[in-house]
Amino acid sequence: MRIVFKTDYMQDIRPWKDGHQLSLYLILLALVVVAPWILNDFYLGELTNVLIWAIAGLGLMILTGHTGQASLGHAAFLAMGCYANVILLEQGVPFVLAFPLAGLITGIVGALVALPAMRLHGIYLAIFTMALSILVDDIIVLTEPWSGGVSGKYVGPVSLFGLEIDRWGTPWAFYWLVLGVTVAVTLGYINLLRSPMGRSFIAVRDSEVSAQAMGVDVARTKTMSFGLSCMVTGWAGALMGLYATVFNNETFTVIISIQLLMMIVIGGLGSIHGAFLGAVVIGFLPQFLSISKEYVGMVFGGSSVAIPGLEVGVFGLILIAFILFEPMGLYGRWLKIRTWFELFPFYRKDMFKRQKSYLKTERLR
């Protein structure tokens, strides 16, 4: 077990714990940067998809994982970012401006949505955002002159500083674009968590009453969290649009919202790692299922049969298992395993046990 000696006050607010941890992350960064030379185009595309989901997951993680407000409607903001980006591009705005603007617009809309939503909490907020997510499908159809309605929209290659970024023609360029956004968002996120605002997010999540007593403006904090969350989600949506190249009103359904929320629950709520781990599960589950179906077909004879809804069903089962047996998600499991090795042989079973809590009504306040 490594013991970090603190010799400087700066050590407490540095984003990394020690040189060892920093070097591990730098190695990981180097690995993903050179990925286009290692992987073939198919797996590079899959990795890009995982990274895009991870950005969306980071967006939702700000709101749900760190501010404690569950949203079942983030697909609405994905759609918003996607359409804002494409419409700006069609107006002749260069990509280098359109992309950040798409996120900003989504963030501002998100903050505006948050204003009435801030009177709601817990389950009511989840219902409110879910209704938004259902409404967005119809809104896209109704605003057909801009959004293309049911027939949808097509987005071609974009150019960034003279470099042609084409999802099909130059997958490596697109991959690096997504990677760049991911790294930027992640660094911003880490920085946010060190700032007074990030601390107040966590305070609001853990107890609104205590946060208020400590001088945190709860309504303002929640609105900021909503806005930031939607901004990041909007960027993910813009990238999703570029990745899919064709999309219409049915691309961003309420099911996507639910999947997004479930993804960060599986990954581990309240940790940046969780967004990435959840995205890996979501991204590779379809491939994993089709491979294992082929394998089962091979072992038991008979051709591989198509089972409709298998993916969603298996996903639901995985999620139930996680919520019941590992509420801290994949990242929580990793923490436990790591602690077991670090403390060997002194790990005790109840080290991560949560305090027992009892439910009190929300109807009396």
Binding site: I123, Y124, I127, I134, V312, I323, L359
Partner: protein, 291 residues
């Protein structure tokens, strides 16, 4: 006359929404958890009834199979609570929400595996029957839906307001620990209310399948019922019915008088407006605590 006909068909639809909403409200009232899988439980109840009644499956007579499927769904509800929900005892509501959404996915998948994804209708003796009131022609199914829903709502209302068990359920939701101290078997009460919600879901499913047809994605109707429950005031049984009726009546009228494209968003727009301006619904159950 036209308006009246629209009104009646809207009422019958609204009653089904109201029945699903009743399931939500039952569980919310007694455990303060929100069961997002209620719509899928309704779908499952409908399929169990179809599996027992329809000639291509087991072909039992209508009445016994209805009673049997309500019983089966009650047992399923109890088992769900015993083996899944109870492990979440005392955890945050949002965790339970995510869990029940996942449960809904699994139920939809299982139903799709067993009964396939084509729409099925329940063979029932009411099919094709008509009730004539003057010029008004009502389908037997519509009348049955309205009557059963009214009876059930007021029965449940009386159950919660009058019986010992109903009061115990309300007590358990308001403060689990205090209810324990008062000698209420909180866990068993929670199991019973899930069984009750399962049975109500089966009744809703049977009525729905008799009126039209069901397929595994019918469970998504639960979202509309959800809107109904919120509009009526989450936690209020008559509120659930009223909310369901409002949503149900709104739909045919919106489809007729509002431009296409705007009509299907009417219930959700109402839901959003309701949440912004009066989050506790028509029959508010929220009271300010007096210290």
């Amino acid at each position: 006359m036209d308006t009246l006909q629209l009104l009646i068909s809207g009422l019958a639809n609204g009653c089904v929404y109201g029945l699903i909403a009743l399931g939500f409200v039952l569980i919310y009232k007694a455990t303060e958890a929100v069961n997002f899988a209620q719509g899928d439980l309704m779908m499952l109840g409908a399929f169990i009834a179809i599996g027992l009644t329809n000639a291509e499956y087991m072909g039992l007579p209508f009445l016994p199979s209805v009673i049997l499927s309500i019983g089966i769904m009650g047992v399923i509800g109890y088992l769900l609570d015993r083996f899944v929900i109870r492990l979440m005892f005392g955890q945050s509501q949002v965790a339970v929400v995510i869990l029940t959404i996942a449960l809904g996915f699994v139920i939809r998948f299982v139903a799709g595996l067993i009964w396939g994804h084509e729409p099925h209708a329940l063979e029932n003796p009411m099919a094709g029957g008509e009730v004539r009131l003057g010029d008004l022609v009502l389908g037997m199914e519509d009348v049955a839906v309205i009557v059963v829903t009214l009876l059930l709502t007021f029965g449940l209302f009386a159950f919660f307001a009058r019986t010992k068990l109903g009061l115990a359920m309300q007590g358990a939701s308001q403060n689990q620990l205090a209810a324990y101290y008062m000698g209420i078997p909180v866990k068993r009460v929670q199991g019973l209310v899930w069984a009750l919600a399962g049975a109500v879901a089966a009744i809703a499913g049977i009525l729905f399948a008799a009126k039209g047809s069901v397929d595994p994605s019918t469970g998504l109707l639960g979202i509309k019922a959800f809107a109904a429950a919120v509009i009526g005031g989450f936690g209020s049984l008559p509120g659930a019915l009223v909310g369901g009726l409002i949503v149900g009546v709104m739909e045919p009228f919106a489809a007729r008088y509002i431009a296409a494209g705007y009509s299907q968003i009417a219930p959700y727009a109402l839901l959003v407006a309701m949440l912004i301006f009066r989050p506790s619904g028509i029959f508010s159950q929220t009271r300010v605590k007096k210290v």
